[in-house]
């Protein structure tokens, strides 16, 4: 549905700033009904990338093809029509403060000169969809961040677009509200079979929302694939760094402080990180481990997530024994196609009880 072919963007030098090569040959294909994530650090070029799709930014090379039409050659009249078929949601909502919730959602229809009664008939179900029917006559200043973003989403959907561009839509929201907005977008994607392009710097957004992801770094795609694979086996350092934040969250700071790298002193216990993925993720691994290694394992920390309905878990365990037993345990885990490694050693007396 959306195809980017060798997309280039160079911002020319201006006002003492050197020219900036923001996009360096991006190739990408996004299918109908897909939620496609583009993740990268700030300054990686992801915002520029999404803005070239509706030509808020003109590419300096390559092509953007949507439904077989090359966007870069559209006349201004055609571009206006095309933009009306693409909804966009923004990080800072970009709502008109002078208009009510209803007025904001109605704006795209007014711009397209839809008659007044038809506008009312189309705005109401949108407000329903995002759960804001009771705020119809409120002004944006009276709404919470999450509610404002719901208005932004309703506004982006009211003209029945064929795709939705989401530019850091949850970056200004707290975690709980973020989750609600992501759920809403997922729900909309399923109900309307709407193609979505999602820009974010938050791995959790990609994990909870997207089907496929592209990692962009310094204007180039460095990794691409379905969410689960990218999450479980990140290959590029940038991807690993983005995911590390998620994984490290599983190991509390207080524990990280007392775990040190090997070799372990006598009396110290090895700490093993076990990553559960795939079909064996549900196995009762800990009790088996104890039996096979002949030592007890103390669970220090852990977390189980579901990515695209597949379990993805991380467990940090302390082996109550020596290195030999720990290695035996690791070999067993690996034989079950799960990954395990010793990440350090810990003095058992320093581990908080319980």
């Amino acid at each position: 549905m959306i195809r980017l072919e060798g997309l280039e963007k160079v911002f020319p030098a201006a006002r003492g700033q050197a020219a900036h090569h923001a996009l360096k040959g991006i190739d990408l294909a996004i299918g109908k009904g897909e939620i496609f994530g583009i993740i990268g650090r700030s300054g990686a070029g992801k915002s520029t990338l999404i803005r070239t799709i509706n030509r808020l930014e003109n590419a300096t090379g390559g092509r953007v093809v949507v439904d077989g039409v090359d966007i870069s050659v559209l006349s201004s009249v055609e571009l206006t029509a095309f933009r009306r078929s693409v909804g966009m949601v923004f990080q800072h909502f970009n709502l008109l403060s002078s208009r009510t919730v209803f007025g904001n959602v109605a704006l795209p229809l007014e711009l397209a000169r839809v008659p007044k009664d038809a506008i009312a008939a189309r705005v109401a179900p949108m407000l329903d969809l995002v759960g804001l029917s009771d705020k119809r006559d409120r002004y944006p200043a009276e709404l919470s961040g999450g509610q404002k973003q719901r208005v932004g989403i309703a506004r982006a959907l009211v003209a029945e677009p064929k795709m939705l561009l989401c530019d850091e839509v949850t970056s200004a929201l707290d975690p709980e509200t973020t989750q609600q907005i992501l759920d809403l977008l997922r729900d909309i994607n399923r109900r309307l079979d709407l193609t979505m392009v999602v820009i974010t710097h938050e791995m959790s957004v990609v994990r909870d929302l997207c089907d496929r992801v592209e990692v962009i770094d310094d204007g180039q795609i460095v990794e691409q694939g379905n969410i689960f694979d990218v999450f479980v086996k990140p290959e590029h350092p940038t991807t690993q760094a983005l995911i590390a934040g998620e994984i490290e969250a599983a190991l509390p700071k207080s524990l990280r402080r007392i775990i040190h790298e090997g070799p372990g002193a006598p009396g110290e216990n090895p700490v093993v990180k076990i990553v559960f993925t795939g079909p064996n993720a549900y196995e009762p691994i800990i009790s088996q481990l104890s039996r096979i290694a002949g030592i007890d394992f103390n669970i220090l920390a852990g977390q189980v997530d579901y990515i695209q309905n597949r379990p993805f878990g991380i467990l940090f365990v302390e082996g109550k024994g020596g290195l030999a037993e720990a290695e035996k345990a690791i070999a067993f885990v690996q034989s079950r196609n799960l990954s395990a490694e010793i990440i350090g050693y810990v003095d058992p007396d320093s581990v908080p009880a319980g």
Binding site: N54, L56, L79, T80, A81, F82, R83, R84, V86, M88, F90, H92, N94, L96, S97, S98, R99, L107, P108, E110, L111, A112, Y139, P140, A141, E142, R155, A159, L165
Partner: protein, 219 residues
Amino acid sequence: MSIQILSLLANAAWETAYMVLVALSIGTALGAPLGVMLATSGRGELFELPVFNRVVGGLVNATRSIPFIILAVAIIPFTRLVAGTSIGTSAAIVPLTVAATPFIARIIEGAVRGVDAGLIEAAQAMGAKPLQIVFKVLLPEALPAIVLGLTLTTVLLIGYSAMVGAVGGGGLGDLGIRYGYQRFRPDIMAAVVVVLIVVVQLIQTAGDRLARRLNKRVR
């Protein structure tokens, strides 16, 4: 205070109101489009016309740098051309309008520039045409600031209208100078000052209130 003085005052107040309101209306009609153009014709903006922007900006600055009393005298030939005469209340409207237009243009420019650029971008993403952006986004969003600016302009014009009194324009200023100053009637001078203070207070209060009512940003 005698009936006579009251009638003089009422007549002068009416003349002032007439001059100020007409100059304000024409000045807004001319200055608003100029202001919108000034705010949107810079490099990389909605109606990119950098040369136009610089020329109009220069003209506006030039007009605004001339003290009003000098401007009023200097453009007398132009006033005669437009109004047929250079004396009287109607003629005074010409220099007042000439002074008000660039002032209002800058006021509107500032108000429009105060609108978050993200809103322009959002409107463009919705497929808004440039004029739709002006009328559906920029002006409604800038309205509270525009109202405050026009209130300021009105007060300024009341002051200027007193100066055109000096060149035969009529109005409260004229009354103050001719009766209060030249005929040594401090009571009339005081009455004029009181009326001006009250009127300016009322206008400022009304403008502030209206702007606050229109501003939906803070609740």
